[in-house]
Symmetry: C2
Subunit: 216 residues, 2 copies
């Protein structure tokens, strides 16, 4: 079989279409023809690139995660201090327009991952991709004296990620206004990050324990 | 139609069976005959009580939520201070044996709720049931001077619930050891609760701001 021209572009076009179709119908309900229609290609073309519905689903999931990780890396470019990086990360993760798109796909796939070991490996990779920028920022902040965490850095990372994921659960499953949920969650997540990390100046000097409280 | 003897018992027997079948197969994949087999009744008997698969699913969801709320209320009986109630709540919510059963059903139904308005109403009710004991404990703790929260009480409640739900996402979708995830999440959630609520003695006197930190 001869590959068509620009296979990566066509491949990405299909994956982007699959991501949209999954977001709308749910992973368990999406059909190849929905993806083909969304991507603007024939079912035959789609099957040329992806042997099975499951393979397409897994690759679409990985594609969405990579695209988000790239946007996250770009979001942190303007940051100077470690705290700035964490604040930008949280603002980006709990940005209303982005989180509402993301929540349904992510939780749909997290739920499907509980019954599919290959999907679960993709989900685990996604947790690592999300963890990395936070973990690096915290490690750097501890090194330069900006942070004096009251919990192990990895526990702080996991708690902030859990706050983000738990907020996504509420966005998909509660009937309250999602914009309000996200705005409040961002404020609280920033407060929790300041308290857990005991944020001070990147001076190398020890930070007074009450800094986070007294500055509020 | 004459109801069989002990209809509430039979009804609950079916709902408990449905809850187990949904936990194993996922809401989107569960069939009436799976539920009938799990509950030890015929499909005809099941249809006598529940007109449709959707009605059964929604009632099974509500049943599980009520059963959990009852266990939560019982868990708080031995608590004396408001902080004790919050600590018992978090220990119960992040108890390894309980959370692992709960996570899959809850996230499966949360995911299905994103595409089903009636399921979403049930999920919203579940958020309220979970919120109530935490909100009451925090309100009481503020009244008796035990807590001096650094965020609005409702924001503290939502953050603690998001931590629990986000930990459940990780339990179903990550490949790391779930027991370790839950143990660390409990430690961090207790620390975050102490920091957000600025826990002191239930004396009515204002609490020093550094209490939560200096006691660690």
């Amino acid at each position: 079989v001869t590959r068509s021209e620009e296979p990566e572009t066509r491949r990405e076009q299909i994956l982007a279409g699959a991501a949209r179709a999954i977001a709308r119908n749910g992973f368990d309900h999406v059909r190849l023809r929905d993806v083909a229609a969304e991507a603007g290609v024939s079912v035959g073309m789609l099957q040329h690139y992806f042997a099975t519905r499951e393979q397409l689903g897994r690759e679409a999931f990985a594609y969405v995660c990579r695209a988000r990780a790239t946007r996250f890396a770009e979001a942190a470019v303007g940051a100077t201090t470690s705290w700035d990086r964490i604040e930008l990360y949280l603002r980006h993760a709990l940005d209303w327009s982005d989180v509402s798109d993301r929540a349904r796909t992510w939780l749909d796939l997290a739920s499907a991952a509980s019954r599919d070991p290959l999907l679960r490996e993709q989900a685990a990779l996604s947790f690592e991709i999300w963890r990395e920028p936070l973990e690096t920022a915290i490690t750097d902040g501890v090194s330069n004296g900006e942070f004096a965490p009251v919990v192990p850095p990895r526990a702080a990372v996991d708690a902030l990620l859990a706050l983000i994921d738990g907020t996504e659960v509420r966005i998909v499953a509660d009937t309250v206004d999602s914009g309000d949920v996200v705005n409040q969650a961002l404020d609280t997540a920033l407060t929790i990050a300041r308290l857990l990390l005991q944020v001070g100046e990147p001076s190398g000097a020890p930070t007074p324990q009450t800094q986070a409280e007294s500055s509020r």
